[in-house]
Symmetry: C2
Subunit: 362 residues, 2 copies
């Protein structure tokens, strides 16, 4: 399987990076009196990037089975619109009651085209909802202090209730350090480790649930899907999507498995899932034969594929090989029009919640 090849390639690459297996290194080092007391390495030293093997984009040879579409489409766009109009109503009510509106501040570093699109969509959504928005744009090569200063200003600004730092940041900036400075009460993306810990721990409530995972759950529940007791597979373990999605599903009592680039048999595991949420960032990764008949598929992938025939020269493709998946799944989100709009709706919802908390407004 291609992923096994990719894994083997990755192991060789790791080998060339002179990183012997943790176990081998550990057992060997036990003999060295100067070695640390404990063998377990630091976690950050273990962190390796997830390098997926992208599937080819061409269509597979014709199937003998029918082309009948099985899956109902989860219309994320409509659900988001309904939520957005409710948010706009609440914002109006807040304005009329206390003369305040929620405020969302965005810090944008560099000029990545995808980031620009996301930010543009978020600002536009704020306008439509009556939420005040403001943005600080910094050049790609800006100094860390410039970002931290912008952040501090927004932290101090009482008209700002949510702050988001559009990720990814340029490599030279310390993302963790920057996100740590972001005021907890304004962490509408929910990326602060304290928030993540409160998401993970039963009995705890995070101040903010990260927008995309929150949107995925909202899509599922609004589609009438019962999460409790279901087998859920999350493909991808990014800090911003895969990880919090797996934690959130578990809080909803799904039985969760997390697949990543080091997983040897992702197709087999995914095939056991009632619910598949995929956020690997690899177009067409999830084939029809990865899916159990009747599976529910939430596709977080927004992968730009070059296509000169399209308006901007590219089209968006999910992680899922859509044409195959619709024949197998019972429910599926389209790309675009599924998760994307819901993520934005959740961002605005988090911002509204933050403002309500700030003004003790109910």
């Amino acid at each position: 399987m291609m992923l096994r090849v990719a894994l083997a390639w990755q192991k060789k690459r790791v080998g060339r990076m002179r990183m012997p297996s943790t176990a081998a290194r550990a057992v060997h080092s036990l003999k060295d009196e100067n070695c640390p007391i404990l063998i377990s390495p630091s976690l950050v030293s273990l962190d390796l990037p997830d390098i997926w093997n992208p599937n080819s984009h061409e269509f597979p040879s014709a199937h003998k089975c029918s082309n009948k579409q099985n899956a109902a489409i989860i219309d994320g766009k409509s659900m988001a619109e309904e939520i957005m109009s409710r948010i706009a109503f609440e914002v109006k009510r807040m304005k009329e009651s206390i003369g305040k509106v929620p405020g969302l501040a965005v810090i944008m570093v560099g000029q990545r085209r995808d980031s620009q699109t996301y930010v543009r969509n978020k600002i536009k959504a704020c306008e439509e909802a009556g939420i005040k928005s403001m943005m600080t744009e910094l050049p790609d090569d800006c100094k860390e202090d410039e970002v931290l200063n912008a952040l501090s200003r927004f932290n101090e600004d009482p008209s700002v209730h949510g702050i988001l730092v559009q990720l990814p940041l340029p490599q030279h900036l310390d993302e963790a350090k920057i996100l740590d400075v972001l005021s907890l009460e304004k962490d509408v993306d929910g990326f602060h480790p304290l928030n993540m810990g409160n998401l993970a721990l039963r009995g705890r409530e995070p101040l903010f649930i990260p927008c995309t995972p929150k949107g995925c759950i909202e899509l599922l529940i609004r589609s009438g899907v019962e999460i409790m007791g279901k087998r859920a597979v999350v493909i991808g373990r990014s800090n911003i999507v895969g990880l919090p999605t797996s934690l959130l599903l578990q809080r909803h009592h799904a039985t969760v498995s997390i697949i990543h680039a080091f997983t040897k048999n992702p197709e087999q595991i995914t095939c056991e899932a009632d619910i598949v949420i995929t956020a690997a960032g690899v177009p067409n990764l999830v084939r029809g034969n990865w899916l159990k008949p009747g599976a529910i598929v939430i596709d977080v992938g927004t992968n730009p594929i070059e296509d000169p025939s399209c308006e901007h020269g590219y089209r968006l493709r999910g992680d899922v090989f859509y044409e195959e998946a619709v024949r197998v799944a019972s429910l599926i989100t389209p790309v675009p029009g599924g998760v994307g709009p819901m993520t934005i709706a959740m961002l605005l919802s988090n911002t509204l919640d933050s403002a309500k908390r700030a003004y003790d407004f109910t």
Copy 2:
């Protein structure tokens, strides 16, 4: 299967608690104009206890297969002793260099017999390692402020580098509130949500890794087990063991599935695992036929089973049906003598690390 019966019983019980399914309640409420904008409920409102169906303790009818033991025993006791002697050496070195030793403070509320045993073992281990220990004991019906005051005193005490609140606390005490007050720099159990978030997030390093999960990893690595790429199943999702263990395994690039009391087919999922770590607190839960031949089994369970023939009137039994498991597994931890001693060793290791950080001692 007994677990299906238990699950059905639990669902009925939940039904009697008048808690309709999240999805049904949600879809119904969409029609109500006064309903919240978002359907997703608060996480704490979702939290349900994991009520496992305890397996019977009697031995199964005689197997036709041989009684040959397959599994090598992971001698946690010996590994812990080796670690403890290295810790003692470091403590001595610290004392001779800077005239300081690490200090561990324990807060014990009530008189649970198991808690008393655990605390006694921890204090004894401190003494053997040269770590100063101190304990505040409070009655079962103490007020929350008494616990918070004891905690604050230890927080302020510069000779204390680690504080542990022996769990579980009596029901009337707010555990989360108490653990939140514990100084982050002294959170040697690693239960603070900030610590848990830093454990979950790639690129982050927690100040302390919770002791039992840390011990499990140490046992695996010292046994020469390569975790990367392996399929790992964690049985149980407690905040103190199952959850952090699953996060830690994922940081080590295992493909993790978490099983809990709402899982419909735990045996089937466990059968796929290369590594099984079980912390459900149910004696004999994990049968031989739950395990893949050659599986590696780490048994965190320490379940007291009444036995008048034993010294204290009870004996300890793991979560694993040991006599069956040893015929199938390739490696297994005994109970006692496996995870328990390693947990204590990790506690002392965390305390030593904390002291080193406090004094900037290397």
